[in-house]
Structure formats: C-alpha cells, structure tokens
C-alpha cells in the first residue's frame, strides 16, 4: 500500500469510528445536560442541548424527597465494606487454588465456578427467607454478606496468582517464612495491579447492584443509590430533573474513578477472560 493510500484509509477508519463512539456517548452527554435542567425544561420542545442552571435545585429536591445525601453514604459504606471483605475472601481463595496442590482442589474450584452459571434468581427466595429468619432485613449486612464469595472474583484472582513464579514462594519458605506471612510479605506486594483490578470490579459491582438491595432493604433511610432512584421513578409525579441529577451524581464519579484506574481494570479483567 502506498503511504498516501495508507494515510487515507487510516483517517477514514479513525473518523468513522469516532462518529460511532460519539453516538455511543450521547447518553452520557445528555445525562449531564438533563441533570442541570428542571423537569419542565427537559421535556420542552426543542429539548435542551446545553447545560442549564438547575442542578443545585435538583439536588435539593433529591435531598428532600429521598434523603439523597444519606443514600449516597449508604452506597459508599456498603460498597467499601463489601470491596474490602469480598476482596480478602476472593484473594485468599484465589491464592489457595492457584499455588497449592491439595486433595479436592479441582472439585472444590469447579463447585465455586458453578456459581457463575447458576442464575442468581434461583437463590433469591431462599436467601430472602434466610435474611428474614436472621432478622437482617433492612440491614447493611443483608446486602453485603451473600455475595462475598463471588465466583468471578475468585476466578480472576486464581488467574492472576498463577502468573506468580513458584521460585519466589520457595525462596520465601527457605527464609523460614510461615504460610500466612509468606502470603502477606511475598505474594501480595507484586499482586497490586491485580488487586486494584479486583477492587474496581467489586466496587462497581456493589455500587450498581440493584435487585438484591431492592429486595432486602426496607425503607428510604437504608436505600442504596439505584434503589432510591428506581423508587423515585415509580412515584406518580416523577421529577425527572431530580432523578437524572441523582443518576449523574452516581454515574459520573464512578466513570471518573474508572477512567483514572482503567489501565489496571481492563488488563486485569482480560487476564481472566482470555486464558479460559
């Protein structure tokens, strides 16, 4: 191919894909625009295409109708605790499965991976009854506990841990390291990128989770962001300005965090996805 033709094709492909991407990103742009307008303005004809000055008022409405500040704190608290606990459970298990040979290893791992295939809906009713029996309905632990041993997280960590050279572990043992200290001092430090990927995944998973919190949380004071937004949408007089401001407030920070850390996330996720 001549350089000129090569360049022409390159520009064609890049600009074509840029148009597609712009179309894909329209909902994000529109979310920002709509969040700064009143409900009436959003449904004007023509609809607003540039940001307006109604954001503060929308957030104020949100606070009045749904205790939105409280709701955001609930979501943050639940997602942070969940990320820490599930991260620990998945990392420990991933390491155990990747770096030790023991009786029943394959069978136990296969059992955990079954969790990827069995639909979550199958366990919905019994888990709900279990939470009711424990008198946990409406509590944070009801949201956090059932998904701590997340099969995908365990899978991701086993894949990452497998890349760790055995020699590193053996030399640690030679130096008289106990198994737990070995895990803390030798295994975890080089795993930081994988741990970052896991943490982002777990945080996003919990932050966006909808059906389970919807079922076990009882009143507005304990709602997470998605549950609160969905409950607002169900009201007779839905204030879309307020709802969309809340949606933006929940989605935009997540998108920014993701953009900042995406290098780890995508590569970590891919490490899990491709090797299978």
């Amino acid at each position: 191919m001549t350089p000129a033709r090569h360049r022409g094709r390159s520009i064609l492909l890049t600009s074509g894909l840029a148009i597609v991407l712009a179309a894909v990103l329209i909902p994000f742009y529109w979310l920002v625009v709509a969040a700064t307008h009143s409900s009436a303005e959003i449904f004007d004809s023509p609809p607003p295409l540039l940001p307006g000055g109604h954001l503060a008022a929308n957030l104020h409405t949100l606070q009045d109708t749904a205790q939105f500040g409280r709701v955001v704190l609930n979501s943050l608290f639940i997602a942070v605790i969940y990320t820490l606990c599930a991260g620990a459970v998945c990392t420990l298990a991933g390491y155990g499965f990747a770096k030790y040979r023991f009786r029943g290893r394959e069978a136990l791992f296969g059992l955990l991976m079954l969790g990827l295939v069995v639909p979550a809906q199958v366990t919905l009713v019994p888990l709900f009854q279990m939470m009711a029996g424990l008198r946990w309905l409406g509590t944070y632990q009801a949201v956090i506990m059932p998904n701590l041993a997340l099969p995908f997280g365990i899978f991701l960590m086993r894949q990452s841990m497998a890349a760790l050279p055995d020699e590193l572990l053996d030399s640690g043992r030679m130096d008289g390291c106990g198994e737990l200290r070995l895990f803390r001092k030798v295994v975890l430090p080089p795993m930081k990128p994988a741990l970052a990927a896991l943490a982002i995944f777990l945080f996003l998973y919990q932050w966006n989770d909808f059906i389970w919190p919807l079922i076990v949380l009882r009143d507005g004071a304990t709602f997470t962001v998605p549950v609160a937004l969905a409950s607002l949408q169900g009201l007779d007089e839905t204030d879309y300005g307020a709802i969309l401001a809340g949606t933006a407030a929940a989605a935009i920070p997540m998108a920014l965090v993701f953009l900042a850390l995406q290098r780890h996330f995508v590569s970590g996720l891919l490490a899990g996805a491709v090797k299978e």
Binding site: L25, G96, Q121, W207, A230, A251, M254
Partner: protein, 307 residues
Amino acid sequence: MTATLTGGKPRAVASRGPAPRSRPRRRVAPYLFVLPALLLFAVFKIYPIGRSFVISLHKTVGGSERFVGADNYTRLMGDPLFWTALKNTAVILVVQVPVMLALATGLAVALNSTLLRGRALFRLGFFLPMITGLVAYGIVFSVLLGKDYGLVNWLLGLAGLDPVPWLTDPLWAKVSLGLALTWHYTGYNAVILLARLQTVPAELYDAAAVDGAGAWTSFRHVTLPGLRPALLLTTVLSTIGTLQIFDEPYVLTGGGPDNATLTIGVYLYQNAFKYFDFGYASAIAYALAVLIGILGVIQFRFLGDKS
C-alpha cells in the same frame, strides 16, 4: 492434660521423620486459604439452591407451607404468561445477541487495526457504557426514548420522520430493550474479543496476503477461526445474561406494554415479591436454571468441539 499434650506431640512429628517445621502447616494452609470462600459459598449459594427446590414443591397457604408435589411445575406449563415471558426472552436471544456479537466482532477488528489512531482512547470510550449501572442507564434511556418529548423523537422530527412510540408499542418496546442492551454490552464483548484477537499471530495475516487473500477472505479464514474460543465465551456469557435479564425491563418498561417485554426474570420477581407466591417463583427459577443448563451444553457442542 499437659502430659497428654506434650506426650502426643513429639510422637506425631516423629512418625513423619525429621520434617521441617513448616511441612504440616503447608498441608493445612491451602484449606485455610480457601475455607472462608467455601463456607460463605456453602451457606449463601449451595444451601439456597437446594432450598429453592424444596420451596418449589410447596405452596404457601394462610402463612403456612403445604407440600403440593409437582403442582407448581404443572401450573407453570399451562401458564400463558410464563410462555409469553419465555418467548420474549427467546426473541432477545435470537435477535439481539447475534446482532450484538456481530457488532462486537466488527468493533474488535477495527480496534485492533494498525490503521486506527488513538486506539487506547477508543477502547476506553466503548467500554464506558459497561460500567454504568443498569438502573442509571435504564432511567436515561426511558427519558431519551419518551414518545412526545424524548430527544430521539425530536431528532427524528428534525429529519422529517414521524415520532416512534418507543416504549408504549409492544414491538417498539422490544426494539428499545434490544437497543439498550446492545448499547450496554457491545463494548464489553468487543474488549474480550479484542484480547483474543491480539494473540492471533501477524504471520498468519502476512501469509494470507501473500496468497492473495483480500480483506474478507483473511477475515473468514484467519480472524474468525482465531476468535472461536472468545466467541464461545461471549456467546455463553451473553446467553446466560439474557436468560436472567431483569433490571433493564424492570426500569425501562416494567415488563409492558401488554407484557411485550416481560422476561422470565421479571415474571419471577413479580411472583415472588409482588404476589409473595414463593413456591411458584421457585418453580420458575428452576425452569430457568434447567434452560440455562441445556443451552450451555448445546453451545459448547456447537462452538467448542471444532477448536
């Protein structure tokens, strides 16, 4: 007490010979590492899976559970709403999933092309919808697609077209649901396919070019075979995801209009947490699990064997 302890210990060690101190610990260590995960999994996944089956054989009558055998399953077979939900889910599976995976494949090939400038930026941009919560994008789409005041219909109006009843007409509601799903998951699937594509050796493309293969021929004979394992993965994941689909129709259309977007997931939710008919909901859940199992096996047969 002290005697038995000190008396027992040396003997146990002696029987294993002069092993280093860490040997027995190394034997129990792996079990301790995987124990928390297994315990939590047993309590919150395996037990509920079994319990769900028991519930599906019962009916709640006046606050107490009564054993009814296979009644819930017989009722399921004759329930037109269940068949509607199954049909709707099947339509999404047959129409939306292949379209999305074709788009994702094209996107992956484009993102892999050396002709493309700013590849990292594009990859990121197309992945962004995936991190958006289902409720968030459901709400955004429901407003964007509003019939009289939605942005999409306003744009169609500019182009001289009539407004489309996106969410209020049974057929268009299905289309809207498909659009929302495609928007959300295409980039994610493209990234999985892209990762696989990057492992296809460049020499294969060079060899094809030397043999005089055009773009289409080399795509068919080099790219597609190379993608097969990743296509299997994305197909299976999309199938499982589609069969369980709940959030999108719940937020976007509530299952309507006229049950046009009622999925198995939504129907299960309605029975369990609107009518509190736990037995029937559990029967639906088990029917769903069996369906996923069957489709998973079929897909592995079709796509997996030839690799």
